[in-house]
């Protein structure tokens, strides 16, 4: 089990438990975290599950692959910490992960 903290733009935090192997997006959707639309259902095809990874966790979550980087072109207010949460796989190493949800998604 890995605990993931989702922080909304207004500062509200929710901690959810995620099983290794699922994606951060799935953990968000399963727990009804607002702001993660995941319109395409996790196919890396819509950019509506955009999150900012907390600086302390950027190394552990790694860099986006080419397809994800391309898809981030379709996200709003992309920053160096931007990731699509459907492309971050939960593992025990990510226990404690903190991600922020953008103020606005497309």
């Amino acid at each position: 089990m890995a605990r993931i903290t989702f922080i909304q733009n207004d500062g509200t935090e929710r901690v959810v438990e995620a099983e290794p192997g699922m994606t951060v997006m799935e953990a968000a959707v399963k727990n009804s975290i607002p702001g993660i639309a995941a319109e395409c259902g996790g196919a890396c095809a819509c950019a509506t599950c955009h999150v900012y990874v907390d600086d302390a966790w950027r190394e552990a979550t790694g860099q986006p692959e080419q397809m994800e980087e391309d898809m981030l072109d379709f996200a709003f207010d992309v920053r160096p910490s931007s990731r699509l949460s459907c492309q971050i796989k939960v593992s025990d190493a990510l226990d404690g992960l903190v991600v922020r949800i953008p103020d606005k998604q497309f």
């Binding site: 819509c46 509506t48 980087e69 391309d70 072109d73 998604q105």
Partner: protein
Amino acid sequence: MSDEVIKTDAVIVGAGPVGLFAVFELGLVDIKAHVIDILDRPGGQCAELYPEKPIYDVPGLTVVTGQELTDRLMEQIKPFGAEFHFSQRVESLERLDGGFRLTTDLGKTFECKVVVVAAGGGSFTPKRPPLPGIEQYEDKSVFYSVRKLENFRGRDVLVVGGGDSALDWTLNLQPVAKSLTLLHRRQEFRAAPASVQKMFDLVERGDVTFKLGQVTELHGEGGKLSSVTVKGPDGTTFEQKTEVMLCFFGLTMKLGPVANWGINLNENLIPVDTAKFETSEKGIFAIGDINTYPGKLKLILSGFHEAALMAQQAYHYIYPDKKLIFQYTTSSSSLQKKLGVK
């Protein structure tokens, strides 16, 4: 605009997998259909969102990609000769005596006895950047598509985005615009390499300006844009003067005009009964992801089932005096004749 009215038994709104299979099920009971879709090709989400992604839960197919499923369905429904009307959206639905009249945004008009709404998550529409106050500029200074090249003649144009649409319109508008600036968040483009090369050639010649960054604010008055604030990759901001901004950030699904057709809705979904998959309106059916009923699952296979049951009821509207005898394709020579296998 509108040439003659197309008269048919049924109009299917949406050419996704469920809309396509509806052609099959209607065809088996001798109902001719026309299919309308906003995209320029069949497949719906399967074609637009995941053409190369695997689907594992279509019965009988261990794994199939979105595109392959679309291709197979197109092959399967070939015998029924449905006509397709792509790149247009059904705007209005009017009730006629004993049927309906549908009109698309391209001005095509259809008259039919049965409407099958298989519109999935809604129609694909361009994504609108959530910039404060953008509404007042839309269709005046901010656009998501180019209808007429001439509207941009002699104007300062800012194209935003890094995909094929952004690149294509940069290349096409450059000769008519007074100035053309392309804004993208990074140096790399997800577009045809030839278009990217052409764009950089124009930049080299000084005919196009390429800048890195993302728009954060719009400035102007009364719907007339004068400049935008851009945040560069290093976090610093600058002002970019422009009269027109064209945004290309891909597509999203919106319910669209279906909401105005007088059908009962429940949170953007269409409630149906589970015997006929008919909406609150007699003769209008809803199948696939767009409908809702107790226990609904948004699965392609559920949509196929819904199409089959819908066709049984649709038959009674098209052929009110005939009795429908249930038959199997395996054994019925009349069904096999329709399928062209006998």
